[in-house]
Symmetry: C2
């Protein structure tokens, strides 16, 4: 599912009621001053990426948000058998599927880390139901990848099950912004980020594991999973995770 | 240890013999066309970040390089007890120490991921001894953080041992460049990246764990560690890791 990109910046519109053109001729004067669609969310602008510094006058802020980690399982194993160009095509496909799914829910594709992706929901475009949106993005991503990977497996004569995506989601308060004086880079920090990353590690290919906090914020989703306790690296107590379908 | 930043781009000089000014008045016309010091390595320019696309005419290339992951242990635990401003100061300190250590060895601070950092050595500034340089950066980072964290612990009345850095390094061929058509972001992909990340997970606070490949490329370092086999997530066979001191 590819939506046509927004013509004005959703972040500037929501936060400042400013119609900042992102595309077409009206966007040209804005581009001249360095304002263009964000790589992390093409429906917002590069100014929004730094909105907390310019508007909130802080280098980083505490936000309530959801974090999703998605990891392409089987990628490194295939490196042994497939051509580099084919591997590159596979990763392009995965990242594109991530972008589509995350942006459809107004999320921020914050980082690509090797064959994994980290997304933040509720910044800069805000939605009170960000936990539900993260789950919706995860489901769309799984569905989309199942189709795309099945085709990829057929084309390249691979086992159907050799590729899959593992996803973990947590919600709560985190620090978001720029850290470090000499290296500037947007990132989110806090237990929520670490738990989401660990939940992703625990997820089998094709699975979406979410925390109690995500579960409790999305009771309308009619959960039919009672959860299971997982031992996650770095956490002494077992962590209860729920499988979203 | 803070070195004064390079006046010309080290990457453009090494690869193209072009003296591209990064600072001062001579840099102004270059800044006007968007060429400025890279955030990932302030001694190279933003053009170098994309050198493979413009010079090598490929979106991503196979390079021989070393990857280092460094993780700030104890950070999330402290979130419970310390003020947000203090936590932010701690992370600033860690990222600054990372930048200093990585850039002193001409490495690229490629990503910050929560309380972890990923660095690549041998791009865009090339050095045949990149494995030794990654170890040198790791040692400097450990040393620097020991001093900085001891002071931080004293100032904030914490246990000396509550903060530490775990580091993992691997060397070899990886894909480096941009992946994805809709989201553009520099990253490195391959087994080397995954092994380095897992080695970091296995490292105790204060430790530097490197792989057999890194060990064998740096025999001049007079290793007095015989290595130990570790079971790393995602790898069926045990992986031998060596502690660098």
């Amino acid at each position: 599912m590819t939506r046509s990109p927004s013509l004005i910046c959703k972040g500037c519109w929501q936060n400042l009621r400013l119609p900042v053109p992102l595309r077409g001729i009206p966007s040209l004067p804005f581009r001249a001053i360095g304002l263009k669609p964000s790589r992390m969310n093409p429906n917002t602008c590069t100014f929004c990426e730094l909105a907390f510094t310019t508007i909130m006058r802080a280098r980083n802020v505490d936000i309530d948000a959801s974090v999703m980690f998605a990891d392409l399982r089987g990628y490194t194993g295939l490196t042994e058998t497939l051509q580099p160009e084919t591997m590159s095509e596979l990763l392009d496909t995965f990242y594109d599927a991530c972008g589509n799914a995350i942006w459809a829910q107004d999320g921020l594709l914050n980082k690509t880390i090797g064959d994994a992706v980290m997304a933040v929901f509720n910044f800069p475009v805000k939605h009170a139901d960000h936990a539900a949106r993260a789950i919706a993005a995860a489901r769309l991503l799984q569905e989309d990848c199942r189709v795309r990977f099945a085709e990829f497996a057929r084309t390249h004569d691979l086992d159907e099950g050799s590729l899959g995506v593992g996803i973990g989601i947590d919600s709560g308060t985190m620090k978001f912004g720029e850290f470090g004086r000499s290296h500037r880079d947007l990132t989110a920090i806090g237990t929520v980020v670490n738990v989401a990353a660990r939940a992703q590690s625990a997820a089998a290919p094709g699975a979406i594991l979410v925390t109690q906090r995500v579960h409790d914020r999305t009771l309308e989703l009619a959960w039919n999973d009672e959860g299971r306790d997982y031992t996650l690296k770095g956490f002494e107590a077992p962590v209860r995770l729920y499988a979203a379908r």
